[in-house]
Amino acid sequence: MVSVPEWMNGEITAMLDTLTSLLSSLQSPLWPAALVGIMIGLLAFAQRWTTDQPLSCSTGFAQIAGLFARGGRQADWRLVFLVGIVLGGVLAGLTDGEPGWQGTPAEFGAFYTALVPDSSLGSAAWWLAGGLLIGLGARLAGGCTSGHTIAGVAMFAPASLTASAIFFAVAVITAQLAAWLLGV
């Protein structure tokens, strides 16, 4: 047992409290925003440092499509990376100490609960159509929120800055307009 001066007891208790709350927040489904953002930035750079390949998601989706079509894109590391993302989601879901996703209105939030059709057929069609816009848009733009925003903007690429500004502006306008029309 290390003896410490009387006046330090308060400080040590405060430090232990901070440490305990940090550790308990790491076991929750959400980590502090800046911490997890910094970790994503470090991870994306580590990939460039070790492999010289920047982050990429939507190109891998085009490669999946290529598996079903003749003359489509050849699969490369991007497909392996996408498989990794699914496994990362599995790992995160198993270790967050929360019950599994039930698809309740509370989980979707007020906006998406009001926006997406109620019927199972209607909602499936909605998601499929939305996904189609995402995939088509990402390929025409040459990247998505991963390749253009996280990787491209960090490299100060003009095309990525432009694409990212449009992604966010259009998404914000679409959502705000829809929320206004739906009254949510």
Partner: protein, 146 residues
């Protein structure tokens, strides 16, 4: 680097990315709507800090000529090209992102977490990406590029 080791490395990077997307809350449709409706800007801080760290390291790597481990050459700074369909594509992407609360990376992490609706979005993304690649080939008359 052998193909096997290379693939293992990319698998690990993918696992890390998917895990962090989940812990960020980027796989929660509720938090995506919070970002787009300015109700909860948590995800804005995630994106901003990720981009800030990336930009800082990118600038340092460029300034000091840091070398990539696999090539032994300076880490490349690759600027994606201005595609002919960039503006239209970015608009379509923005709409799709807003109406589903999902983007290509998070669709896969959601699938891993057991958010099954993401499978529909993911199937749509595959269809759309295939269509987009075919369109890009028409627009440029050559490869799909980036």
């Amino acid at each position: 680097m052998t193909g096997y080791r290379n693939n293992l490395l990319f698998l690990l990077f993918g696992i890390g990315f998917g895990f962090l997307l989940s812990r960020a809350g980027a796989t929660s449709p509720d938090l995506i709507s919070g970002l787009l409706l300015f109700d909860d800007l948590r995800l804005l801080w995630v994106i901003a800090s990720a981009v800030a760290v990336g930009a800082l390291l990118s600038a340092l790597a460029w300034r000091f000529g840091w070398r990539a481990r696999n090539t032994g050459k300076p880490i490349s700074i690759r600027h994606k090209p201005f595609k002919r369909g960039l503006i239209v594509g970015a608009v379509l992407f923005g709409i799709g992102w807003a109406v589903t609360g999902v983007c290509p990376g998070t669709a896969l992490a959601m699938l891993g977490e057991g958010k099954w609706f993401a499978a529909w979005v993911g199937a749509g993304i595959v269809l759309g990406a295939g269509l987009g690649s075919a369109l890009n080939r028409r627009l440029t008359g050559s490869s799909d590029g980036g």
